[in-house]
Symmetry: none
Subunit: 228 residues, 4 copies
DNA sequence: GATGAATGAGCTTTCATTCAT
DNA sequence: GATGAATGAAAGCTCATTCAT
């Protein structure tokens, strides 16, 4: 019996290939689940639905993940690893000014959430639950780490005099995440209210990417920098 | 049989008081449901849970609302009525400057969401679903109306020269809603990451109210007004 | 919702009516379950089977008993109460000699097991499981009480000189129970091997009742009494 | 494919040694199954459980035995062979008196059941099922043969005047088997009720062996022999 | 008007077995 | 010969709803 064996393998990273800890079928299942959880929520999605969409047998979900719950956790392990903004090297990058770093951070963050909209919607649902065990822990870890790195990044700008001394970093983060997040989760309203139905899906995504980038950069600059 | 008779006509009793169309027991049920839907989602909450928490018979939910689904819709009718920011008179108020109106708007909005956190968490969950029928319609109507009023409000400031000409109002709205919303739905993380566990619940609520107000006003001013 | 409410009512005993703690439908279910558990074992019987045989909906079993497990426990509560041999008054009866009491005991015991063969087969299966929780406790309680009463009964015979001083009461009990029990559970072999297939079921039951009575009384007498 | 080839022919290798028709792995599986079937019953035991306890692959059980059902049958073939009390030579043994033979029979029987308690518990469960196909046949064959031999053995005593003429041999057999059987299957109750928890497992087994031997011999003597 | 009883449909999970190698 | 992967079937249970009073 296979069950859970390779799940805890470390991800081996070579120059080009990232060996996933999950095999093809598992990824297939997780991606079907992700889409459904995003649309209908965890409880609103049945294992039958997932199996059908993933084109696998219903029993295979238990076989590979143990339970629906564990499948969700696996999804967070799978996606969650890349939810860290991988800011470390950027924070230390000496070729960029703090303001360039902030701009890069904003674009990178928008990019990350927009290209993982399904998973992000799952996160939005799950982070509302107070004590979600494994998932809460995972999310808290990611949030804590991201905030620490951004704090350091802003501290650099404060040290060299580019940024104001007193900045409410936690709230600024919440505005960044909250703005992108809210637009992602309510984009159908945004589209309709602002009469953007004529755009193709692709154009629309490009549109909000650009708008968000400009808008958030302006907010960050206004918040962080002295008036010029 | 009683069913659904009076549900959809609000009876305006006097000039100022709107008597709810829902009787005591119905409100009881809706409030229990609201709390549970906020915590565990619509699908994650059983009619039995609601009945238990509301201290009523399980059959009574179908009896009073027709179905679990309809109960949710009733909740949106009940709460949704007051979700309109009631901005009309404020927009027309000639004793306030546009900038004062914006500040009042922000505080009113923060206040509204913070005092209706449970319902707001329900909204956050529900607005993610694309075609939610009645609920989507209700939400869209509210969003559309709110945006129109704010547009008019900002237009006043633009006309009298207080505000910049080119403002991305939709995105500014999304930042307002997204920031408050994200803080509400992830407050347990915010509290832990920023070491605010020592505060009482009440102190913590006061804390975020003040922080949000200051933070969002600064963002709005920076976005709307010319640098001085 | 009904669930488990009246299960813990005390059995009210009036002159003629014994109010069962279980309603008609519950008894119906328990009797269907008893038959099936006897034939196929607890694990070999599905809730579907029980529901079908009892002529009720599958969900009703959970509704009335909570679970399959709890149904079994209810069965032991229902039948177990009468598993006590109700010897108390007989033990104290001064109109009977000890030897008459022993004979009455044997007949009563044979009678009890033969008229409750299904339940008895369930007991035989269940008593093999070492720590069966509620059921083990129930069985132990019954066994302990029965043995205590028989000990007292035999002590009476020993005091008045009818019975031998040194009698292995526990083993004598095991012979009594084991003999009846083994014949009940293997009666189809007994019938075939001893060529009793021509008897009707009723005749056969009468046959073994008589045989057992005679056989066990002889053993008890030989074991308890001095040779004459 | 290998399947079932050699299962049903015992190869008599030398005059005294019977090489089992089952290979090491098969025996391993059967012994794990025996323990589990004894504890939890056939239906209560999953193929996975057996595979785990036997330290083999789950598929191997179907591979070696065809099915779970067939595994059980194989177990009866494996153990059942030795379930015959091998009385033939004893019955014909002219160096022993009938009474000695009966005593030897009792001890041998107690010994057999006590050293094969697991298998015996499986038998107790299975013999309750009315038409168990292969297993019923096997059991009936054993029971029939044993009873015939004992009949002959007792006939010897009757012929030489040691034993009474009218003895209910079938019931006497049932008392023998039933007593040992009932003690084996309810030994945990026996131990507790008679306060024997201080004994080690080994001491306890020795204890009941001795008690049973003495008790059953007394019963047989009283039943078979004239009072002296 | 209100509710205990009842239920069909659906849920997640485990089952024994077979397949492909 | 041996086994990891896979699966249809069935398990026990809970669901939202309706019925009968």
């Amino acid at each position: 019996m296979f069950k859970f064996k390779q799940l805890f393998n470390l991800r081996r990273i070579s120059t080009t290939v990232i060996m996933s800890a999950y095999n093809e079928k598992q990824v297939q299942i997780m991606e079907a689940a992700e889409k459904l959880f995003a649309d209908k929520g965890f409880e609103g999605t049945s294992v039958r639905d997932i199996a059908e969409d993933a084109g696998v047998n219903q029993a295979m979900i238990s076989y590979y993940f143990g339970s629906k719950e564990k499948l969700m956790e696996a999804m967070f392990t799978y996606r969650g690893t890349s939810s860290l903004l991988q800011l470390e090297e950027m924070v230390q990058d000496k070729t960029l000014t703090p303001i360039q770093k902030v701009e890069k951070l904003i674009d990178r963050y928008i990019e990350k959430l927009l290209t993982n909209q399904c998973f992000h919607r799952v996160v939005v649902r799950e982070q509302m639950v107070n004590n979600n065990g494994f998932i809460s822990d995972k999310l808290q870890e990611i949030k804590r780490l991201n905030q620490a790195l951004i704090k350091e990044l802003i501290a650099q700008g404060q040290r060299n005099g580019d940024f104001k001394k007193h900045v409410d970093i936690p709230l600024l983060m919440i505005t960044l995440v909250g703005t992108v997040s809210h637009l992602i989760t309510t984009q159908h309203f945004y589209r309709e209210i602002n009469n953007l139905q004529s755009l193709t899906e692709e154009e629309f995504q490009k549109h909000i990417r650009k708008k968000l980038s400009h808008h958030l950069k302006a907010i960050f600059k206004a918040t962080l920098m002295y008036e010029q």
